[in-house]
Symmetry: C2
Subunit: 359 residues, 2 copies
């Protein structure tokens, strides 16, 4: 692990600074390996009354088993399906910026799993799963039932399906051994076998001089796994992503400023996002505030955090200073919230150039 | 068959005019049974270059086998999936207006088939298929690969899958015997077993005093089955749907006016649609021009004809005069082209009331 949390990630940006060998190895190395739940989003319009009947709390995400998932699906209106999953969205964003990304996650050999695999590969992300044999209705690929109410709020019920069995067999040592960063989704800590596999992944990554990044994913993940996340910060992470609320919960502070101070003490490079208020990058030399990128109309905030992480990860593995990487994160987040869906539609690379971040 | 093509369809609109028995039977009777290919749309963005490489002609629909479908899908970008199918969209529209609709079509026991079944039922359409056992990659539910270029044009490759095996076993005599209208998709004439089944369906419908409606679906269908469509007009149909181009091809005329004259001679109630120029309803008492409904921004014209048919069919089975039914068709078409997707999103019933068509 580097003593300066920024040094390994924030590598020199011009080829002149890099020995020929290192430059060659850089060109074949992946920028980021993202690890998380492979999920297909299944979206439908819904009324507040339906949410109440289904015992769902508006604006939240609940994990549900296959019986409850089937019961909710039965009551949902006509659906649209599109690949999602937090870390998978981030991998898609890195690839859309022109980066080299891979994804690790578990799918079943069913329609959802094949669509997920097609979609993430189609954007240029390396993904080589060993699908679990499917049993219709019981052993299925993970999916997130998204109920969209008229106020544009999203209420989610996620049935992890085979994603919940993510384990050592799903780690791809080839990818883990040849990446600059591995990026882990906090949601995985909900799953015992995945948690063990993450330990292995961290070890392989560090053995191969990769940095380890964690997003704490959701306030409920922080609530469930606070001690483990703090322990990871203490000894295993080079990079942390959290939003304002999550950061305050993680460090048990009552103000955002106190959370910034607490994360600074860990010495880990951290990016704390604040929605429309931009982000704060906490480096070894102190916190830097980065304003949010301008956005016309906010249509759907799904994927904002995932795409912010994509921009930051691509930036930092491609020669940007952390504060500029955070600006790129903001540009990517602004794109994804300007349309429905959690994956980029516009040309992220062109937006990055437009923002003066790449020539 | 009624001698006046409009008389059976355009039934009295007030309960006072109807004997008590008939009124009771009307409340349990279906308005429309729609018969067609059960298809799920699989959409992705594409470039003109990709269309050329894939040997697809921009703006057209091609039928493809499973090998070619797989090859096209492999080259497509990240996809979104949503239920479609021409007659199925019409059934969804009738139900969205508050009508009683059923759909007949063949699906496989796979993810696409289950999604199709869920979606059409969720809007209130009766659909009770006997799914064909699926073989991944080979025996699959029908789907339409839709490549959307930047100019918003759609280029489609349809793999009918098991929909191509639609046959007598898929007819639901209960539905066919208790509906006011059966509505048949011209696309079905491409398939030998479906063609035979359509003969049976027409017989069952007529035996039970239902009217038979046909949409010729597509210029290529008219090209392939012109003689058969003319024969149907001669002896089996009470209602015909065609757009301007299809009508001119069907009657072999070089002007639209001549096509109107030709259809008038058949004595069959006909609705000829002209896009932004509205429609012409050809009744026993002559043609009536009906202007198109106003629409803000045309976002996606997919489903315009299907939803026009839905409005017309609902109108005519619920007491509207043919010209008012055509106005309702225009209102429904305007709604579906104002957003992406081939099924209604807004409250069609409210739009019909707003247009003064229902109290």
């Amino acid at each position: 692990m580097p003593s300066d949390p920024g040094s390994e990630l924030n590598s020199p940006s011009t080829a002149d600074d890099v020995p020929a060998d290192a430059a060659a190895s850089r060109t074949t190395r992946l920028d980021v390996v993202c690890v998380g739940n492979a999920l297909v989003d299944v979206l439908a319009s819904a009324t507040d009354e339906l949410l109440t009947e289904l015992d769902l709390v508006k604006g939240t995400m609940a994990l549900v088993d296959h019986v409850r998932a089937a019961a909710i699906y039965d009551r949902m209106g006509a659906t649209t399906e599109a690949s999602g999953g937090s870390a998978a969205n981030t991998a898609a964003g890195v690839a859309a910026l022109g980066g080299r990304a891979a994804f690790l996650g578990r799918v079943a050999d069913d329609g959802l799993g094949r669509a997920f695999t097609h979609d993430i590969r189609s954007i240029g992300v390396a993904f080589d799963p060993t699908p679990t044999p499917a049993v219709p209705g019981e052993v299925v690929s993970g999916h997130c039932l998204v109920l969209v109410t008229e106020d544009a709020e999203r209420t989610m019920a996620t049935h992890l399906g085979v994603a919940s069995e993510f384990g050592a067999v799903d780690l791809h040592d080839g990818h883990l051994a040849s990446t600059q960063v591995i990026y882990l989704e906090g949601y995985l800590w909900e799953q015992p076998t995945a948690k063990v596999a993450m330990r292995d992944a961290i070890e392989v990554a560090h053995r191969n001089d990769a940095s380890v990044a964690l997003t704490v994913s959701d306030p409920f993940c922080v609530q469930h796994h606070r001690a483990e996340f703090l322990e990871l910060l203490d000894s295993d992470l080079e990079l942390l992503f959290a939003n304002e609320e999550e950061a305050m919960m993680l460090f048990g502070t009552s103000s955002f400023d106190a959370a910034v101070d607490a994360v600074a003490e860990t010495g880990v490079l951290a990016v704390l996002t604040r929605g429309a208020h931009g982000s704060v990058v906490v480096t070894a030399s102190g916190p830097v505030e980065v304003p949010a990128a301008p956005v016309g109309q906010v249509v759907d905030t799904t994927g904002a955090g995932d795409l912010f992480a994509a921009g930051f990860l691509y930036g930092i593995t491609n020669g940007l200073r952390p504060e500029d990487a955070a600006r790129l994160g903001g540009v990517c987040a602004a794109e994804v919230i300007s349309h429905v869906g959690a994956r980029p539609r516009g040309d992220l690379r062109a937006l990055a150039v437009e923002a003066g971040l790449f020539g």
